[in-house]
Amino acid sequence: MTDANKGLDIGQNYEQQYGFHDPEKYVFKSKKGLTEKTVEEISWMKSEPDWMRQFRLKAFKAYQQKPLPAWADLSMLSQIPFDDIYYYLKPMNEQGKTWEDVPADIKNTFDKLGIPEAERKFLAGVSAQYESEVVYHSIHADLEKQGVVFLGMDDGLKKYPELVRKYFGTIIPAADNKFSALNSAVWSGGSFIYVPKGVKVAIPLQAYFRINSKNMGQFERTLIIADEGSSVHYIEGCTAPVYSSDSLHSAVVELVALPHAHIRYTTIQNWSKNVYNLVTKRAIAHENSTVEWLDGNLGSKLTMKYPGVYLMGRKARGEVVSVAFAGKDQHQDAGAKMVHAAPETSSTILSKSICKDGGRASYRGLVKVYPNAENVKSSVRCDALLMDEISRSDTYPTMEIDAKKVQIGHEATVSKVGEEQLFYLMSRGLKEQEATTMVVNGFFEAFAKELPLEYAVELNRLIQLEMEGSVG
């Protein structure tokens, strides 16, 4: 038996690897469902400044008024059991400074997920969120000395109130959409990062988000500010136990790249298939800055996520590279938004999706160029790979080009894993499953090669697991 076969035959699957759960222990759990009182309660528990409390309450009103987006997959979206969800769950009183401070069950969970190990090996800082709160958090001492701030969002608000108030909710207004409004009302946890002028954070900072309880709602909020000429790479991962009832994850992520800054934001989303993942992510890119979203969507029941870059300064650059994997009963509705509001800005979107066993992937994209934005370049490419006849892939590209002298490219392909491709690989001794995995990994290569090695290996392994049992 070859090594590759061994990898496939271990029989690991999501359930064993990530789908386990700890006994539910918490110091506070809000009542099921969401009312204004819940919002007040969350703000009170966090001893927040009044402006944040007001922000939440206003957002809650917007949330109540906004309908579900009409263009969405309502067959799935309208099934969210909003009244059955716990909107705030505080797992422990004090955030841990060392892993020893974290309760044993929770520490065990993150051990199993390999977080402390990754932290020792190749990360500059780690934030671990469990249910609604960041339970552990660390940053390399030398980065701290250089003034880099990496905190849970709640701590960020406490320690840097002016900076937070200046940017919070300005890139994604609370009322942007129903789910950004929901997040703005009940947000808890997430990351706050500030990188001072000229500081380059060479190795990645990582946040890991874990849902443990049934019917949980997780609403983290992240704000990253990269000051002039600085650079940072932030990575987030997420998993949850497998339950028969659904959970909701709805995050808001705001990035600010000041002139000449560089932000790379990588997501490996691997929620269990009972999680609705409805996330709003947007960046502002000032003059000569670069923002890159690397977005991997493997898990969840329904994901709706369209990371955007608003290119506000001359020569700003935006990039989205996203891959999606949709299996049985999954819909990956993902895409990207590039808004060119300044001359000589450029953007690239590369979207790759794979569907099997009746899974569905959609690409929804917007490229907008404002009238004064001349000499803009944008290229969009969407590739879909269908593993069988019952799966589905759709592309919904929108282009609004109001400027002259622009260079816009759009390309979309849909292909099937060909019998001839499999025959070719199998004629070299690869088993059908190995051959399929090789084709799929190759398809995702453009994404994987951008990841730090450890994550690329992890991604390949996840794909191998997803492919398990996919062919007879």
């Binding site: 038996m1 690989l425 004629s427 001794g429 690869l430």
Partner: protein
């Protein structure tokens, strides 16, 4: 001692249509057999059937490989047992480097015998002998390859996988004269007492460089004539027309 390959009254259907109508042929290790025939005679059907392509259904007769009936043995198992097919039109695999592909194939073929340390050296040497540039290793499998590069890549795999039976499907097609020479040299280099080669070709061009031991003429799904290497030259002057008008059963 059983023959390397023994085709016994082989009938094959593709999508309900009978293409091979009773082929019998026997070959030993160390031999080179050429199968020559016009377009549509069933040449590619024969190579795909030997490799176990799921679309090609054996309806009668059987294929014995080293005495073992291949019926029910899937493509990958046949490959691991030492059967190799050099494709007429190798397909591309995006995002998979030649190096990664070769490593996976060698692991599959040789299992625990596979030596990762030796691997690079082996590949480098094999590439050099086929006049393949080193940059080839990092390119994606057959992606944007020229006709000549594709065929060299096929022969490279053959060299590394060390098959007992190699089926070369129209390996000469689409090659200019220099590429044809290099590929032929590659094949000649691999010829030996442990390898049987089935050369499938329309033209006798390749046979100017690779000398067969036996030649079989395939017309309309049947072998209409078998002979020694001189048959190839005869065909060059007479063509297939005489066989096509009045099929002769052998």
């Amino acid at each position: 001692m059983s023959a390397l390959l023994d085709l016994q009254d082989l009938h094959v259907e593709v999508e309900g249509k009978e293409i091979l109508k009773g082929i019998s042929l026997s070959m030993e290790k160390g031999q080179v057999h050429a199968i020559m025939g016009p377009n549509g005679s069933g040449k590619s059907t024969l190579s795909n059937t030997l490799m176990g392509h799921p679309k090609y259904v054996v309806t009668r007769g059987r294929i014995l490989y080293q005495g073992q009936d291949l019926a029910g043995l899937k493509t990958d198992a046949r490959a691991r047992a030492g059967i190799f097919l050099a494709f007429q039109y190798p397909v591309s695999v995006q995002g998979v480097s030649v190096m990664n592909f070769l490593r996976t194939a060698l692991k599959a073929r040789f299992g625990d015998q596979f030596q990762p340390k030796e691997f690079r050296k082996q590949v480098k040497a094999a590439m050099a002998s086929l006049g393949i540039d080193e940059s080839f290793a990092t390119r994606y499998v057959n992606d944007g390859f020229s006709g000549g590069e594709k065929k060299r890549h096929e022969i490279l795999q053959m060299a590394l996988l060390k098959p007992s039976l190699a089926v070369l499907d129209e390996t000469d097609s689409g090659l200019d004269i220099d590429a044809l020479k290099t590929v032929s040299e590659g094949i000649n280099h691999l010829r030996g007492p442990e390898l049987g080669v089935l050369l499938i070709t329309h033209y006798q061009r390749l046979l100017n460089y690779v000398m067969p031991d036996f030649v079989h003429v395939l017309v309309d799904g049947r072998i209409v004539r078998s002979g020694g290497k001189e048959l190839a030259h005869e065909l060059e002057t007479t063509g297939y027309a005489s066989y096509e008008k009045e099929p002769v059963t052998s």
